[in-house]
Symmetry: C2
Subunit: 239 residues, 2 copies
């Protein structure tokens, strides 16, 4: 009944129903006596490969990590984007089911499997994280199974806007006359394509289309200025 390691979780929902974690410049998880080790990753450095032995779990202190799976012919699907406050590395079996690779410079908190499985507080925290990731995954499943290219990209952009587009979306704040925001993609077009189940060309074309319609302004490829958040939200297929 017990060969217990893990394979994924998030404390804050990031992705579709975003709610960012402004304060956490250090671990949000309950501390564990021994294994309080930190680890750094450079952009595109691999933390672990699918199939590696899973004996540690990680919390993202800062930066962004992607989890992906490859098909034998090279097709790639990014299955989850792990952001500040999220966790990764859980597995039911004793091996990782995905590859984890940093998108940006990243700092991680490392927890040893043994520490985790003996700490009820940690268990409980992980549990909460898992539930949050599960909801994001469900949402992403709908995106991949049923949404058009335009809807996918719009949903992706909304996922980068904190506290908007989710269930409790309040709309634009009353005071401010504007409803704009600049979001950092921290992903290449290829990575976005592999996340959204599209090709790089389709992603590029949809972004150009949004540009032409005056919905967004692209600033050095990695940063997009959304001129009216509600307008993008209307394109997600959820309204």
């Amino acid at each position: 009944m017990d060969n217990l390691t893990y394979s994924q979780a998030s404390s804050k929902t990031v992705g579709n129903e975003t709610s960012f974690n402004e304060e956490s410049m250090h671990s949000a998880a309950p501390s564990v006596k021994n294994g309080a080790r930190k680890q750094q990753l450079k952009p595109h450095e691999v933390l672990f490969f699918e199939g590696d032995k899973a004996d540690k779990i990680y919390e993202v202190i800062s930066g962004v990590v992607m989890l992906y799976k490859l098909l034998p012919d090279g097709r790639r699907q990014i299955v989850y984007i792990v952001r500040e406050g999220d966790m990764l590395g859980f597995s039911q079996r004793d091996i990782f089911d995905c590859t984890a690779e940093a998108l940006t410079k990243t700092e991680l908190q490392v927890y040893e499997g043994r520490d985790v499985s003996t700490s009820p507080l940690m268990q409980h925290y992980i549990n909460r994280c898992l539930l949050s990731q599960m909801e994001s995954l469900h949402e992403h499943t709908v995106l991949l199974g049923r949404k058009s290219a335009m809807e996918r990209v719009a949903t992706f952009l909304m996922g980068l806007v904190p506290n908007r587009g989710g269930v409790g979306c309040t709309g634009p704040s009353k005071e401010a006359g504007t409803d704009d925001r600049t979001v950092m993609l921290s992903m290449t077009r290829q990575e976005i394509a592999d996340y959204l189940g599209l090709t790089i060309e389709t992603v590029s074309r949809v972004i150009s289309q949004m540009k032409r319609k005056g919905l967004i302004k692209v600033e050095k490829h990695d940063s997009i200025h959304i001129l009216n958040i509600c307008n993008i939200c209307q394109l997600t297929g959820m309204h």
Copy 2:
């Protein structure tokens, strides 16, 4: 830090890396004193709707339940199929993120949220279940994002064959000269389509194609005889 209810889990991996649960004609989860209630569902009876208050979790004793989400224009995506030994009903927020509907006559074990959050054993069990579901979801994400219609249907069929197609697949057992099996779909073509991100017509055509190639025999729509499991496995895109 604590408004704790849940939203999903599975004790056995069902779907891609299958490993069926032959014995469990009763709950596999640790028993909880008070809330040991059972519940029956008729085919296509809804257990709960997306948005309903989430205060119970369920274990499937027998039968099959689907979890799905709807877009406002009626597009549906089935995000998970819950089978014998699996659990459902978890949520991080206090509402369900999916609708749960029985595919077949179903018997459930019902656990009250309060019982769950106070039982460490239950917590631990749920945790294991969540990890298993997470892996299935990752696998399904690859299917929806990157696989062709034929690969999707082949993967779906393999998911109905216990102990085959997974990481530790042993291939056909040495003794037996044959490598066939009859699987029950317990889903209509429409439901399969909504699970695989296809249309009903495409599902039907792919099944007909497999029939024409002599890979399968269809018996009264709901039951498919796979003549050579390895042959189907070769079509999943994972070899």
